[in-house]
């Protein structure tokens, strides 16, 4: 029985109410802190750990690339890279390694030594020797070719490329022949379409293939 006129009783009730509220608040804070902390830990656990996700691979001897010359290199994940020699000081700064994939629509850019530029045949994208776009759609969009780190040790040129995590232990790159129209990531979709188109045209002009297609 509570007595409204009894100050001691009402004080006791106030205290009980306050304690009730305080314990409820402590409970909510504890639950939010404890489980919220655990949820935060779980999210951080799931987020990939930021390890150095690069692999140093040997490319070639520096003496085999002349100034102004470019080699095409394919990393273990299939990306193609133009490695161009621009000076003869004997260190890594002589070289520049740029992705051969045009940032516009993914065609393959080529080094043109005579023009001292990279050129994309699809939409006439032009890049200066440092990979910055200076003409065509990538130039308008202010894009640039992505760059890879290089190092030279005892006359041996190495490149830092992303490893192929799906290939198992065998991680290697290769130097491509100058006329190798490569496939894989960053292949040239426009040129491929052009080639298919050309071959179809050639077949339709060929009377033997026309006969064959009629008979089937």
């Amino acid at each position: 029985m509570t007595d409204a006129h009894n100050p001691a009783a009402s004080e006791g009730q106030d205290r009980r109410q306050f304690l009730g509220k305080a314990s409820r608040a402590a409970m909510i804070a504890g639950l939010a802190g404890g489980y919220g902390g655990f949820a935060a830990i779980s999210l951080r656990y799931l987020y990939p750990t930021g390890t150095d996700d690069r692999l140093w691979l040997f490319v070639t001897e520096t003496s085999r690339v002349r100034v102004g010359e470019s080699i095409r290199y394919r990393g273990p994940s299939g990306e193609t890279i133009n490695i161009t020699r621009q000076a003869r000081n004997g260190d890594a700064d002589d070289f520049i390694a740029l992705s051969s994939t045009c940032p516009h629509l993914g065609c393959q850019v080529r080094w043109e030594a005579q023009n001292n530029r990279f050129h994309c045949p699809c939409h006439n994208g032009v890049f200066d020797p440092s990979g910055v776009a200076i003409g065509g759609p990538p130039g308008d969009a202010g894009q640039q070719l992505s760059r890879y780190e290089l190092k030279v040790e005892s006359g041996l040129l190495s490149i830092a490329v992303p490893p192929n995590r799906l290939a198992g232990a065998d991680q290697k790159g290769e130097i491509l022949a100058a006329d190798d129209e490569t496939s894989g990531p960053g292949h040239d979709p426009c040129l491929s379409c052009q080639q298919i188109h050309d071959s179809r045209m050639a077949r339709s002009e060929d009377p033997r293939s026309a006969n064959r297609s009629r008979s089937t």
Binding site: M27, G30, L31, G34, Y35, F38, I41, S42, R44, Y45, L46, Y47, T49, T51
Partner: protein
Amino acid sequence: MNAVSRWIGERLPVSGRQFKELTNEPVPYHLKRWWFALGGTPAYLFIVQIFTGILLAFYYEAAPATAYRSVELITNEVAFGWFIRSVHKWAATLMIAAVILHQIRVFFTGAYRRPREINWFIGMCLLMCTLLTGFTGYSLVFEQLSFWGATVGANIADTTPLIGPFLKNMMLAGSSYNEATLSRFFILHAAVLPVTIVMLIAVHITVIRLQGVTEFRFKDEEGGTPKTFNFFPDHLYTELIIGLILMILLSALATIFPATMGPQANPLQTPEVIKPEWFFYVAFRWLKLFGGTFAILSMGFIIFTMFTWPFIDNWLRKHTKFQEASVWVGVVGALTVISLTVWEAVARH
């Protein structure tokens, strides 16, 4: 606010009030005593296990060539991986301990007696599943001890009369530990056993709800003590507090005693001392004491007796003068388990 609740109410015609009334069963007053809330503890820890287990499965690879490396990656490289793995390991230990304590409480209070025999049976199934989950989980790390533990476990199963070789083949996916064994353990540990446990818990709780919790009165209770209290919010608060305490305990244990890595499994080199996890110490010591087929058969007999104890107890109480036989059987059983466990823990061989 009203508009929001009306919008939700139209699309999800579930009444919170009705749901509360439906589930708000009166809880016997003795559940205010903490040790009677032990049944909720393994259930809570099981949720922790599911959560941390799913997290671990993001990185774990169940193949002999990669399993150890993936656990090492979790422990040493992934952010908070050591913590998640340690919580998983400690929650397993606490879960098994809580299941055993819950069972001891149910046993000594006679809460398994008519009409609750079936729920005791389901509880025994839950105990077996929990132990099996512990065994398969221990094997996944692919350490020396977990590899040899699994090998010894399979060889023990092999000595079972008639079905031994079949059991061993089913366990190891072949006549000996091979590249398919780990994935078998993994599927058992991460899919088959947890799903079975979830279903058993659902039946266990449904039966409790249907029959109501056994009511106890205590001599020290005051005269006006009510018979029951509300599930919402009183009992829910109790469970929440237990959950918080367990969380603090798990975090502390995981931080102070984190899970470590033993040497990688080497099928060509048997370790000098092979020990299973602590909850199998009793079975391991029993095997060492009696050996071979007798040990297997006697263990099978003991487990069978545990499953059917409510009926045996009923028969003893009806047809003999041993009305309190269960207490003595329980005391002897508990002491045997404790002493064999301690013996195995301190003995080198």
